[in-house]
């Protein structure tokens, strides 16, 4: 994938999407194959990408703001400085007023946004997002698509987005790779050329419907 691109991986459950992201995040060493980011291998070398796991994995003993700044702290940034950088972003992530809330006090959608903010604050050029909206209800999800696009358009980093939801992938991405069941191989690639910012009625668009049929066919095998 190129810089500033939003690319999705769609595939059936268990085809290895999460596994691939863990390899790219450098925390899982594959038995064979290569993985490069910016021309350098990332195998066994964590810390090069901003990885958001499938579960939100907020630390229950840290307040919203301290969860968001976790990465900066691990990179040696002073906590005060990391907070100063994070505070203006809280508004954009819909978390203003909740900086001192414990994760247990947040709704599923808010926890997900905290996890996304934590990932965005990592200051890496490549974001790896593993089904970030998988645990949300359909209505909250739709709202999150528009929101994520806005946030992403703001600083335009490369995103590799994993999902098993075809509409989600087509709504958000510049390009969609379709994976086969395990072991996952790319069986089709769809270029999604819709202009941004995209609107909610995109789903009814004839081109969108055609793409969805094509992806579903590739998935159905």
């Amino acid at each position: 994938m190129g810089p500033a691109e939003f690319v999705s991986l769609v595939g059936p459950s268990g085809c290895g999407k999460s596994t691939l992201l863990k390899v790219l995040a450098g925390v899982l060493v594959p038995t064979a194959g290569a993985a490069e980011v910016g021309g350098e291998t990332v195998i066994g070398r964590p810390g090069r990408t901003a990885y958001m796991p499938q579960k939100d994995l907020l630390l229950p003993w840290r307040r919203t703001l301290d969860n968001a700044t976790l990465g900066a702290e691990l990179h040696g940034t002073a906590p005060a400085e990391a907070r100063t950088r994070a505070v203006p972003l809280l508004e954009r992530f819909g978390l203003a007023g909740f900086e001192r809330a414990w994760p247990e006090e947040l709704s599923g959608g808010m926890r997900q946004r905290v996890a996304l903010l934590r990932t965005f604050l990592l200051d890496r050029q490549v974001l790896l997002l593993d089904e970030p909206f998988g645990a949300l209800d359909a209505i909250t999800r739709r709202r999150m698509y528009a929101w994520l696009e806005t946030v992403w358009l703001h600083d335009r980093r490369s995103v590799l987005f994993v999902t098993h939801d075809v509409e989600e992938a087509l709504t958000l991405s510049d390009r969609v790779h379709v994976l086969s069941p395990r072991p996952g191989r790319v069986v089709d690639t769809v270029e999604v050329g819709f202009p941004r910012p995209r609107t909610a009625d995109l789903i009814g668009d004839a081109a969108f419907v055609r793409m969805r049929r094509r992806v579903l066919a590739a998935l159905g095998g």
Binding site: G26, V27, P46, P53, L57, L74
Partner: protein, 259 residues
């Protein structure tokens, strides 16, 4: 905690306790066992009042030994847990030794400790520490190793070194397990100090017990038993309180307090 909530929480235990004491009193009134075999609860109450002037120094000594011993046991237990988790070799070397240390009966070990460390407070403190470090070490170890591996992967993906993983994820995640072990330890700490005093001591509830036994003052033995039980319960409750204070993020803790 509200008054009504407190009442609802403690009422069943209180009713049971009052019932048992009542049945005991009734049994003594009806069957009239000799006072040196089984004194009535009323008689024990009188003995409590009579021995009141003697008690503070004994209680203070035992409590001091229990608290210092528990503190040492807690620190040692938590420290061992960290070492065992961080160094796989340490686990294989230490685990059998730790388990073995728990199989030696304290009643065997205590006289040896007196031989080595004298008749002062130190052998008692050592006994309490030996009893209490074990549940803390076992529980904290399972807390440290039972952390969600995805959480560890997350901070590793951010470039965290092993020491940082320990500090940001494993240690905080193990806090509840540490306190669970400490609660068990707290329940045994006072009784441990008393057992050690029983062997030889100048002051302490164990001494009070031993003197009462020698003079066949069974009522005073019961006084000591009640005090030991009350101190243990208080220590147990204090650790529970400390656990809540130490994990303010548990919103459910606060919710429980609502009626």
């Amino acid at each position: 905690m509200t008054a009504v909530g407190g009442l609802r929480r403690w009422a069943p235990a209180t009713v049971l306790l009052v019932g048992l004491v009542g049945a005991w009193e009734l049994y003594v009134i009806l069957r009239r066992p000799a006072a040196y075999v089984l004194p009535s609860p009323g008689r024990i109450g009188e003995a409590f009042v009579e021995s009141w002037p003697l008690l503070p120094t004994h209680v203070a000594t035992t409590v001091a030994e229990a608290l210092v011993g528990l503190a040492i046991g807690a620190v040692a237990g938590a420290g061992l847990a960290v070492v065992i988790t961080a160094v796989p070799l340490a686990r294989r070397v230490l685990e059998p030794v730790l388990v073995a240390s728990q199989t030696v009966p304290m009643i065997v070990l205590a006289p040896l400790l007196v031989l080595w460390f004298g008749i002062g407070m130190s052998p008692k403190i050592i006994v309490v520490a030996l009893i209490t470090f074990f549940p803390v070490a076992v529980s904290t170890t399972s807390g440290l190793t039972g952390v969600d591996p995805d959480l560890v992967d997350l901070v590793r993906s951010m470039g965290a070194r092993p020491g940082q993983v320990l500090r940001t994820v494993r240690l905080p995640a193990a806090v509840p397990a540490f306190f669970a072990g400490l609660r068990i330890a707290a329940a045994y700490a006072v009784a441990g100090a008393v057992v050690a005093e029983y062997v030889v001591a100048q002051r302490g509830l164990g001494v009070f017990l031993e003197r009462s036994r020698r003079s066949f003052q069974v009522d005073r033995i019961f006084v000591a038993v009640v005090i030991i039980a009350a101190l243990s319960a208080a220590l147990f409750a204090a650790v529970g309180l400390a656990a809540r204070v130490a994990s303010p993020w548990h919103v459910t803790n606060k919710a429980e307090e609502a009626p």
